[in-house]
């Protein structure tokens, strides 16, 4: 069996989805600048040929900012080489990709702290403070102290 | 199929409706006329005609080949349209799906009214020149179908009067122009004196039986002398026969199969009687079709002699050196008679003759096999009511001839010449159609005499 060479995924044609999709991104950037309208492109809804997705990722490049989100598995939120164009990859707890998107926006919604989480966090912080008590203010010397 | 078929174009029609009358012979009922028309249309009906009638795709290209359509722009002159009632009858009565057509009533019976209307199209406006047969992308020989349709029309008694009269006279008198054997003999004797040439009449035995057209006897008698001169010069054993001299066949032109047969059989019988090896046809187009290509079929077996048109004979004799001619010093063009060239296949012969005869031969543009018909063939020249149309159509021919700028116009058909003469005087035209045969005879070199 060892003499059978696996056929690597060929990039068999150039007339694929990458070019038109990039044009779509350009139009989306126009809309963002002119009307402040954000666009989300769900890459799962497009029929990519083998290798095309990598091609797309390569064409968009890597920009200044990459964020990692840990919620129900890892997610990567990365600004591409083109500001305002974001590459989002959601994985589940197994590490399988469950969604890929290009967002054309100033900052993807998911980067924002969510009100529900802020509320929960605030409550948590309040609880913590209460539990610690006022007398305990100097108790933890090694804790960083906000100025 | 009422007259409203013609309303489409009545405004552009050069011939006004009232002039299109139709003639009737005999006192048959309409029913009988239709019955006879169809029966006799079907008489010669075989797979050949069936193939043709089944193959038309209604492309209309035949119109562009027909001088009547080209000259008038009137769609009713579309060649295949001239056969419409016969196509209808074929599909209904003979075609492979005839039963279906009849049972479902998809094709109506042809009516007497229809046939009367079509008389104009089948006789007045068709010279059976066969130009349309050459354009048809389906290869339909439309001209042969018109000839068949005429058979039906004749039996239905729906022939133009003049043509019928001429044909009847040919049947009764043996000549369409009333040339009796006695008159023929007189004319020959006159020519003998006039041209100082020996003319053989009624020899018991001869290798060559020469026949002649009544038109020549009456209108172009020099042709008889010319024929004699040439045959004498070629040292042929030849003769004219008073019991078989008439080459024209108005039975064929008008559509009477019986009369056609009688006319042809007179020549065939005479030829057999004298033991002829060759029957030499005169300058007459339809005579060639009648005897050269239809004669044997009328006889019912191969003819025991060869049949040649005079131009073929001249070509052979000049090519072989049997005859010699002086060169004529003028430019010449040649009008091909349809039945001899296009339909008959003897296109090359006159050109061979002219190669020997003249230095400046000029082909007409689109000439030769695709030549415009003179417009007088197929009996049309006899039909009075067709005159206006005939003159109109002749303009095409005039243009074709004039384009050559030749000094002399030649032809090898007395019927063509007759039409040329008539149109010439109508238009006061500069060209006279002259006889190829006579020009050869005038310029014979007596070297081997």
């Amino acid at each position: 069996m060892s003499n059978i060479e696996p056929i690597s995924s060929p990039i068999p044609y150039t007339r694929g989805n990458v070019e038109p999709l990039l044009h779509e991104v350009v139009h989306a950037l126009d809309r963002l600048l002119e009307d402040d309208e954000a666009t989300v492109i769900d890459l799962a809804s497009l029929p990519f040929g083998p290798g095309e997705l990598d091609q797309l990722e390569e064409r968009l490049g890597i920009g200044e900012l990459t964020a990692e989100l840990n919620a129900l598995g890892q997610s990567i939120i990365r600004e591409t080489a083109y500001p305002g164009v974001w590459w989002l990859e959601h994985r589940n707890t197994e590490g399988d990709i469950v969604g890929r998107y290009i967002e054309i926006t100033r900052a993807p919604e998911i980067l924002m702290s969510q009100d529900a989480d802020i509320g929960a966090g605030r409550a948590q912080l309040g609880d913590n403070l209460e539990r610690a008590g006022p007398g305990n203010e100097n108790g933890a010397d090694n804790e960083p102290r906000p100025n | 199929m009422s007259s409203n078929q013609f309303d489409l174009e009545s405004k552009r029609l050069s011939i006004k409706e009232p002039e299109i009358r139709y003639d009737k012979q005999g006192d048959l009922s309409d029913e009988e006329r239709v019955q006879k028309a169809m029966a006799n249309f079907a008489k010669d009906f075989g797979s050949t005609a069936a193939v043709y009638l089944d193959s038309c795709i209604h492309c209309g290209m035949c119109a562009d080949a027909c001088h009547y359509y080209v000259a008038t722009g009137d769609p009713k002159y579309t060649p295949i349209w001239k056969l419409e009632p016969f196509k209808q009858a074929y599909k209904r009565e003979v075609g492979p799906f005839a039963l279906i057509y009849r049972l479902l009533g998809l094709k109506k019976k042809v009516t007497a009214e229809q046939l009367q209307e079509w008389q104009h199209l089948i006789y007045d406006s068709c010279t059976v020149c066969g130009r349309c047969s050459l354009i048809c992308p389906m290869g339909i020989d439309i001209a042969s179908l018109v000839a068949m349709a005429r058979n039906g029309m004749f039996e239905a008694g729906l022939v133009p009067h003049e043509l019928h009269a001429v044909a009847e006279r040919a049947e009764v008198d043996g000549s369409p122009l009333g040339v009796t054997p006695k008159l023929f003999e007189e004319r020959l004797e006159w020519m003998e004196d006039e041209h100082e040439v020996t003319i053989n009449i009624d020899e018991e035995q001869a290798d060559v039986l020469a026949v002649i057209s009544s038109i020549e006897i009456q209108k172009y008698p020099d042709a008889m002398a010319a024929t004699a001169k040439i045959l004498n010069a070629a040292r042929e054993s030849w003769t004219f026969r008073t019991d078989g001299f008439e080459a024209t066949n108005f039975g064929m032109m008008s559509g009477n199969v019986e009369w056609q047969k009688n006319t042809s059989m007179r020549i065939i019988d005479a030829a057999i009687k004298v033991g002829a090896k060759l029957v030499l046809l005169p300058e007459c187009g339809h005579a060639y079709m009648a005897l050269r290509w239809m004669g044997a079929n009328i006889y019912g077996k191969p003819l025991p002699f060869k049949v040649q048109h005079i131009s073929e004979y001249l070509a052979d004799s000049l090519n072989s050196g049997k005859l010699k001619v002086k060169k004529v010093d003028k430019s010449v063009t040649f009008h091909d008679p349809c039945q001899i060239s296009r339909r008959g296949g003897a296109t090359q012969a006159p050109r061979d003759v002219l190669k020997h005869l003249c230095t400046d031969y000029r082909e007409m543009p689109g000439g030769g096999d695709y030549n415009w018909c003179c417009g007088g063939g197929g009996g049309v020249v006899t039909i009075l009511r067709a005159d206006k149309l005939r003159y109109k159509v002749f303009k095409l021919k005039m243009e074709q001839v004039e384009a050559t700028e030749a000094d002399t116009l030649l032809s090898s058909c007395s019927n063509c010449r007759q039409n040329f003469d008539d149109c010439q005087s109508h238009y006061d035209w500069k060209y006279t159609a002259e006889s190829l045969l006579e020009l050869v005879a005038e310029n014979l070199e007596e070297a081997n005499a």
């Binding site: 694929g16 989300v40 919620a71 197994e94 969604g99 969510q114 | 029966a39 075609g95 492979p96 039996e155």
Partner: protein
Amino acid sequence: MKDIPTLGDILQARGVSRRGFLKYCSATASLLALPPAMVPRLANALEQTRRPSVIWLSFQECTGCTESLTRSSSPTLEGLIFDTISLDYHHTLQAAAGEAAEAARHAAMEENNGNYLVLVDGSIPLGNPGFSTIAGMSNYDMLMETVEGAAAVVAIGSCAAFGGIPGANPNPTGAVSVRDLIKDKPVINVPGCPPIPMVITAVLAQYLTFGQLPELDRHGRPMAFFGQTIHDRCYRRPFYDQGKFAETFDDEGARKGWCLFKLGCKGPITYNACATMKWNDGTSFPIEAGHPCLGCSEPGFWDKGGFYNAVSTGDIGSGKALAGAAAAGVVLGATAAAMSRARRKKTMKEG
């Protein structure tokens, strides 16, 4: 139903953040082929969703559909969906057996009368009740009994949806589909042999989130997943358009990944989401592996001629039949000609 927690409650209890939930929602929207703009609405709906009871019936089937579903990596988002439903009966997966299992089914039916979902895989034999039974009960009886109080039925796999392989010619068991039997309840078909696991969960998710039947095509399949052909979404489509085809499985064209139309690909007449959702957790789908689509999500896919016969083939009948036609033509032609000859003779006599 008052004590049934909503999905929002469940997630909160598990400490899933709002961000996590949003991520889950966009993944679900993607799964449901909803436009990304629908995510907020979806989030809202999902939060309110309550955990419904689900009864899974397996009839004449191969367990492939269950395999397909459970073999997808777990825990996953699909897994989460299953956390949101209460799978009260599935005789392959449940621990209980025998009478206890049947008792669980009856209990779930009684408790959730009018609200539970019935999932069916496998076809139902009508030929003889004994062909397939569970706990001594024929498939037909069990289906009818269970569906009685159901809110909707989902037919999972081509067997349940269309009769599938048991129903293939000559159909010895008289197998029929769920839709052949259930006329008074909504039936959603999720065909495929097996169906794409994500499609199964997505259909459930959609039903759960929006609480209504998705838009179905004429074969009862959700348009969201079965609205387009494999051919239309296939990455090899440009080759079809360019006229580049693999002629055999090991020729240059096959190696270059050209269109498999000539090798019998049923992509043009097969409606499914394989080309976009793909298999094995989004790895690939059969065409990507170099094999033509079999058309497994179409009715009667087993009986549509050979898998390797191109779609654009026709049947003009046997040589014998053609020869028969020719002979008939000859006879008719000869008759017509003879009739015409006879008619001609007759007319000529009369004329």
